[in-house]
Each structure stands twice: as structure tokens, then as C-alpha cells.
């Protein structure tokens, strides 16, 4: 066991650090609206121009194909430099793009992958529906074949940045008579198609991050089906590894940074100088945030040997979510009445506290993560 980096890795780190120092935007990321979208795309373009776009993508598709260790270094330096949240590029870079790489036709890849990397195309996700949350496979949005098109009717929900997206990774039921996992297709949906209506939904933190999307006879070329008709469940599952992989590291570093800021605040507060209640709870969080980083290192080490992420990614995700929520709750206590003023989700403490509730809901609830851990990590019989 070791924490050593090779000389090549050290050189790589220096290169990353130098580039970030020169290129990370100085301005604050706008919290919302078209300005936010423009900011996120400009930052993506800058990374592309600098040769840093798609660090986990294969080189043949314009990515950098970094090793997991290099990705770790990139994200550590990214966080250290205070570089911005990936924002509207999240789905394209970490879901849609990787799915095309794994399952798309040459035509699909060449039309979209370069544009995603260059910050020219925003993607969103169309998986969840009002009646299908944890039970994703029960989705009911229909795609009926009409000539060389699918005609889509139905509704999606919790579509992040749907109001800004150019394309959507959309799951539709194309065979209503098949078993529920076998009648689903994964299609590329142009968000400017006639018949699409997008309604933003405000979160409890006060920002319209999510949308509902309504489909009324939306025509999508059959050529936009990825990975074969009625094969969409398998295609969708192939992206899960990406979401649970290294893309998550930046948020962990952010958690550690926030905790240390809170500890510094408390150390400076005379009225809390002897408050062992607050201090010990912060110390416990500190130990656990350290453990989260160690778990990430362990997981990366295991993935390097095994060649693929495993079910223990659910452990990391759950632990991170619960820690983030405890930090948020503690910050409210420490702030006192100051917590009554609402801040943006990425600023101060109150906004991040409210936003932290999504950490054990989005991308698989805590309950689903515990099911996965029980069944796939521990080998317990399937829950019912």
C-alpha cells in the first residue's frame, strides 16, 4: 500500500496546476439563467482549447483518456484551484457522451461528441417520470414507430438544466407488451423538436435547476435510437459507472474545503471557544471526511486492478451524501439567526444546506443505495 505518485504523475500534476492557475475564470459563476449557461459553455470551450476536455473520454473521440490516477490528480488540482462546477455540461460529459461512446453509431458519435467537448451542445437527461422514480423501469412515456420515426408522447421530470439543453438522452417505452426492462429504447431527442414543452421546477434551495418536460406527438428519427430498439435499459445502465466514478471526486474535495472553512469559523469565534459539543461534532465530521477521501483512494486502487468500478461506489455515494447533510445541519446551528438569510446553492451556508437534501435523493436514493450495498456488496437476498 502506498500514496506515492510516479515522477510522471508528479509532472502531470505540475502541468495541470500551471494550466489551471492561468485559466480558471476569475468571475463568480452566475447562479442561474442564460448567463450561467454562457459561463459554463465558455469554461468548457476554454478547457477544450487548452487540451483538457473529456479527461476520461478515449482519445479517438477527442478525449484525453487519462488513467484513473491522472483523473484523480486533475480533480484534486481542479478543486484546489477553485475551478467552477461543471454545471450545464454535466449530462453531456458524464452521461450522454459516454453512452454514445459505448453504444452509439459512428454517425451519432461524430455529430455530437466533438460538440459536447467544445461546449457547443448542452445535454439533459429524460429518465425519471412522475410515476417512475426509484422504479425507473416502470416508465410509461411511449415511443410509437411511424415510418422511420418514433412518435413520443408522455412526460419526464427532474430533468436538470432542461430549459438550457439542446439534446436529451431520452428513455421511452417502444414495446408496451414486453417485460418492463425489455421494451425500452434510449434515443437522442432534439429539444427544439415541435411538441416539446419545458416547465422549470424550483428546488427547495430556490433555484430552477430541474424541469418537467412534456412530449406531445414529438417525432424523433429512428436513426436517433442508440444501441438498438428495445435495448435501452442495457444502454442506460452502461452510463451508471460514469456517474459513480471520478466525476464525483470534485464534490468530495469541495466537502472537505467547506468543512475546513466551518472549522476555521468556529475556531475564530470566542463564544464557541469552549463549546465541546460543537467542536467534537466537527471533529467527528473531520475524521469522516478524511475517511471519505481514503475510501475514494481505496476505490480507485481497486478499480485500477479490476478495470471497472464496482457496486461499492454506492457506499461512497451514500457516505458522501450523509456527510454533506450533517455538515449542512451543523452550519445552520453554528450560524444561528444568520442562517435565516437564504444564500445561493453554491454560496454561503444556508443555500448549500438546503441543496444537501438532494444528495440522498437524486441519482438513486439512499434507500436504493442501501439495497444495492446489501445485495451486491454483501450478497444478501434481494429485498422486498
Amino acid at each position: 500500500m502506498n500514496l506515492d505518485f510516479t515522477p510522471e504523475d508528479d509532472l502531470f500534476r505540475q502541468e495541470v496546476r500551471a494550466w489551471l492557475a492561468d485559466n480558471v475564470p476569475r468571475e463568480v459563476r452566475p447562479a442561474d439563467g442564460p448567463d450561467m449557461k454562457a459561463f459554463d459553455l465558455a469554461w468548457q470551450k476554454r478547457q477544450y482549447d487548452g487540451g483538457w476536455a473529456g479527461i476520461a473520454w478515449p482519445q479517438e473521440y477527442g478525449g484525453r483518456g487519462f488513467s484513473t490516477i491522472q483523473q484523480l490528480i486533475w480533480y484534486q488540482e481542479y478543486a484546489r484551484a477553485g475551478a467552477p462546477y461543471v454545471g450545464v455540461n454535466f449530462v453531456g460529459l458524464l452521461h450522454g457522451g459516454p453512452t454514445l461512446i459505448a453504444n452509439g453509431s459512428e454517425e451519432q458519435k461524430t455529430s455530437h461528441l466533438p460538440r459536447i467537448l467544445k461546449g457547443e451542445e448542452v445535454w439533459c437527461q429524460g429518465f425519471s417520470e412522475p410515476g417512475s422514480g426509484s422504479d425507473l423501469a416502470s416508465l410509461r412515456t411511449r415511443g410509437e414507430i411511424d415510418g422511420d420515426h418514433l412518435v413520443v408522447n408522455g412526460q419526464k421530470i427532474w430533468t436538470s438544466f432542461g430549459q438550457f439543453a439542446d439534446f436529451q438522452e431520452l428513455l421511452v417505452r417502444t414495446d408496451p407488451d414486453a417485460p418492463k426492462h425489455k421494451g425500452i429504447s434510449w434515443v437522442i431527442c432534439d429539444m427544439r423538436s415541435p411538441g416539446i414543452r419545458v416547465r422549470p421546477i424550483k428546488t427547495i434551495a430556490g433555484h430552477p435547476e430541474y424541469c418537467e418536460v412534456f412530449y406531445d406527438d414529438v417525432r424523433i428519427p429512428l436513426a436517433n435510437v442508440v444501441g438498438g430498439l428495445n435495448n435501452g435499459w442495457r444502454v442506460a445502465m452502461s452510463t451508471l459507472g460514469f456517474e459513480r466514478g471520478t466525476g464525483f471526486m470534485a464534490e468530495q474535495v469541495r466537502l472537505a474545503t467547506d468543512l475546513e472553512a466551518l472549522i476555521a469559523t468556529v475556531k475564530a469565534r470566542v463564544d464557541l471557544a469552549r463549546d465541546t459539543d460543537i467542536q467534537r461534532r466537527l471533529a467527528r465530521l473531520r475524521a469522516e471526511v478524511a475517511a471519505l477521501q481514503a475510501m475514494t483512494y481505496s476505490s480507485i486502487s481497486l478499480n485500477e486492478r479490476r478495470g471497472a468500478p464496482g457496486a461499492e461506489a454506492s457506499i461512497l455515494r451514500l457516505y458522501h451524501g450523509l456527510l454533506t447533510q450533517r455538515l449542512g445541519r451543523m452550519s445552520m446551528e453554528i450560524l444561528g439567526a444568520g442562517s435565516l438569510e437564504l444564500t445561493d446553492p453554491e454560496e454561503g451556508w444556508t443555500g448549500p444546506y438546503l441543496y444537501s437534501f438532494s444528495r440522498t435523493i437524486g441519482g438513486g436514493t439512499a434507500e436504493i443505495q442501501r439495497n444495492i450495498i446489501a445485495e451486491r456488496v454483501l450478497g444478501l437476498p434481494r429485498s422486498r
Binding site: 422514480g133 416502470s138 435523493i361
Partner: protein, 333 residues
């Protein structure tokens, strides 16, 4: 010994629940359609007319002479309906004015002719936060050890800021150094603080029960994996824990109300305990309810999150949880 409401107390509950569930059903709250506070502030004159502000005042002060138990049961309903803290501030202000012999002012507040809003000091102590204070005639400043009823002119540099609790407006302000108002502090303030803690506990109980009920309804209706989600222990057991916290918080609030009404020696002990248990019930139940509702819990348009935010707001009135715990530890049994 009987902790079940008497027929008279049941009447208060029925009247309040009837009016509030009709006029302020929880799903009237729609953050995206602007502050939700319009409806509840508009209802205040009717509340005053029904005697809700004067309920516990003695008859010599123009009140109805009900006891702390009736007020507690009323404010449980007020908490369930997320009524503006102006109602709470009015009840406390009327009691303060009555205590200090200010009959005219007491009457003005009790009849709803003079509206009273709440102010709490910022952690540092230099600034203040004013809650739903636009157009109020008086402002009730509740600190950890004193309560002061002030003219709004005592505050300057008033500036609207975004509110954690979107059902109220929030302003930051500075208190002018020479400002004088009706004040009680120290030992004289103890009876008033018992009332403050009791009514806050009552509102928190209402909030804890409201999110329990929303959660049970959701778990009974929503289907996933071919069955009602309430059949999954990962859902039903958190609901059971909510029920346990509600039962603890309600029982202790009822007992504390009786002890306050009867001026028992252990009044401070019991109301402080009530406030501690009720805050935990409201915050823990709201957090569990958000989780249980999934995306709907995290979306502003479903009402669950308002209760979480209101609980945080109420925690700041008259000394937050850490101070309450320190007080309770220091008491003799």
C-alpha cells in the same frame, strides 16, 4: 389527571382546524407564485375577531380568560397551517402590554387593530432580523433574556433580504441606540418566556404532525416496484419514527401547558423540555419527510420543505436549541 382535551378544549381545536384547513390548506403554499404569505396575513383580522389573540388574556384585560392549554392547542393548529409569526408575536405582545398595565395598547393588539411583528437579534448581536414586518404597527424583539415591544421607527437601515423561510418576508435592520419600548427582562420576564417557549413548542408540534400526515398519505398512495411504497420498511419505519416523535412532542407540550396554566414549580423545566422535544420532532420529521418524498420532497412546489424552514425560523426565537439545552441541564430536577 387527564391529558385528553376537555370538551371546551376540543371546541377550540375544532374551530381552529376548521377555519385553517379551509382558508389555509397546506397546498395553497406555492413558492413559485410569489410569497405565500398574502393569504395568511389577510386572515389575521378574522383570527383577532375570533378571539385568538385575546384567548389567554384575563377578562380584566379584555381577554377571554382561557388558559395556557387552550392557547397551546390553538397554536398547534397555527403551526400546522404555517400561519405568519405575526399571530404569535401579537399574542405575546398583548400579554406583555397587559403585564405592564398598558390597557389601551393591549386592547389595540388583542382586537387586531395594532399588528405586531417579530424581530430576533443576529448572532453577532449588532444587527436584527425582522420577520413579516412590512406595515406592522409594532415590533416585538425577543432576545434570549428580554422581550421588548418597540415602535417600528426604532429600527433603521431596513433592507429586504432573501428569507430561508419563503412564507415570510425578511429584513435586516439596525436598532437605534436610544430606542425605548415596553420591556421585561431577567426574572420578571420568566412568565413571558414560559409562554413563548410553550407556543413555539406548540407550533413545532403542529409542523411535526403536518409532515407526518403528508408522509403517511404519500406512502399510502405512491406505487413503485408494483406496490405501495408504504409496504417497504425503508419507508414505513421512518413513518413510525415520525409518529413516535409526534407523540412525545405533543404529550410533553400538553403536560407543559397544564403546568404553565397551573403555575407549577416545574413550569420552566417542562416548557423547556417541550420546546427541545418539539424542535427535534419538527426538524427530524421534516428531514425524513423530504427524503421519503424523493424528488417531490426536494421540489419547492410541494409543501414539505416549508415546515423544515419554519422549524429553523422558530428555533431562533428566544434562544436557539443549544441555549435551551444549557438551560435545561442547569435546572434542578
Amino acid at each position: 389527571m387527564d391529558l385528553m382535551p376537555s370538551p371546551e378544549e376540543e371546541q377550540i381545536i375544532d374551530m381552529a382546524r376548521g377555519l385553517l384547513s379551509k382558508e389555509l390548506p397546506v397546498d395553497y403554499l406555492r413558492w413559485e407564485e410569489g410569497p405565500a404569505k398574502a393569504a395568511d396575513r389577510a386572515l389575521l383580522p378574522q383570527c383577532a375577531e375570533l378571539g385568538w389573540i385575546a384567548l389567554g388574556l384575563s377578562e380584566e384585560h379584555g381577554g377571554f380568560g382561557f388558559g395556557a392549554t387552550e392557547e397551546m392547542l390553538l397554536f398547534r393548529e397555527v403551526g400546522r397551517a404555517l400561519v405568519t409569526p405575526v399571530l404569535f408575536a401579537s399574542v405575546i405582545a398583548a400579554r406583555l402590554a397587559a403585564t405592564l398595565g398598558e390597557s389601551d395598547l393591549t386592547a389595540a393588539i388583542a382586537t387586531g387593530n395594532a399588528t405586531v411583528s417579530l424581530a430576533v437579534p443576529d448572532a453577532g448581536g449588532s444587527g436584527y432580523f425582522l420577520i413579516d414586518a412590512e406595515g406592522s404597527d409594532r415590533i416585538l424583539l425577543v432576545d434570549h433574556d428580554s422581550v421588548t415591544l418597540l415602535d417600528p421607527s426604532a429600527f433603521s437601515n431596513r433592507s429586504a433580504i432573501r428569507s430561508l423561510d419563503p412564507t415570510v418576508t425578511l429584513e435586516s435592520a439596525v436598532l437605534d441606540s436610544g430606542a425605548a419600548g415596553l420591556q421585561v427582562g431577567g426574572r420578571d420576564a420568566e412568565p413571558l418566556f414560559r409562554h413563548i417557549s410553550l407556543l413555539i413548542a406548540a407550533m413545532l408540534v403542529g409542523a411535526a404532525e403536518a409532515v407526518r400526515d403528508l408522509s403517511v398519505a404519500h406512502a399510502s398512495e405512491r406505487t413503485q416496484f408494483g406496490q405501495k411504497i408504504g409496504t417497504f420498511q425503508a419507508v414505513s419505519h421512518p413513518c413510525a419514527d415520525m409518529a413516535v416523535r409526534c407523540e412525545a412532542a405533543l404529550s410533553q407540550a400538553k403536560l407543559a401547558a397544564v403546568v404553565v396554566r397551573d403555575a407549577g414549580d416545574d413550569a420552566e423545566f417542562q416548557v423547556t423540555a417541550a420546546r427541545i422535544v418539539a424542535l427535534d420532532a419538527a426538524l427530524s420529521n421534516a428531514a425524513a419527510a423530504i427524503q421519503l418524498h424523493g424528488g417531490m420532497g426536494f421540489a419547492a412546489e410541494y409543501p414539505v420543505h416549508f415546515y423544515l424552514k419554519r422549524a429553523h425560523l422558530l428555533d431562533q426565537v428566544g434562544g436557539r436549541i443549544a441555549l435551551q439545552l444549557d438551560d435545561l441541564f442547569a435546572l434542578n430536577a
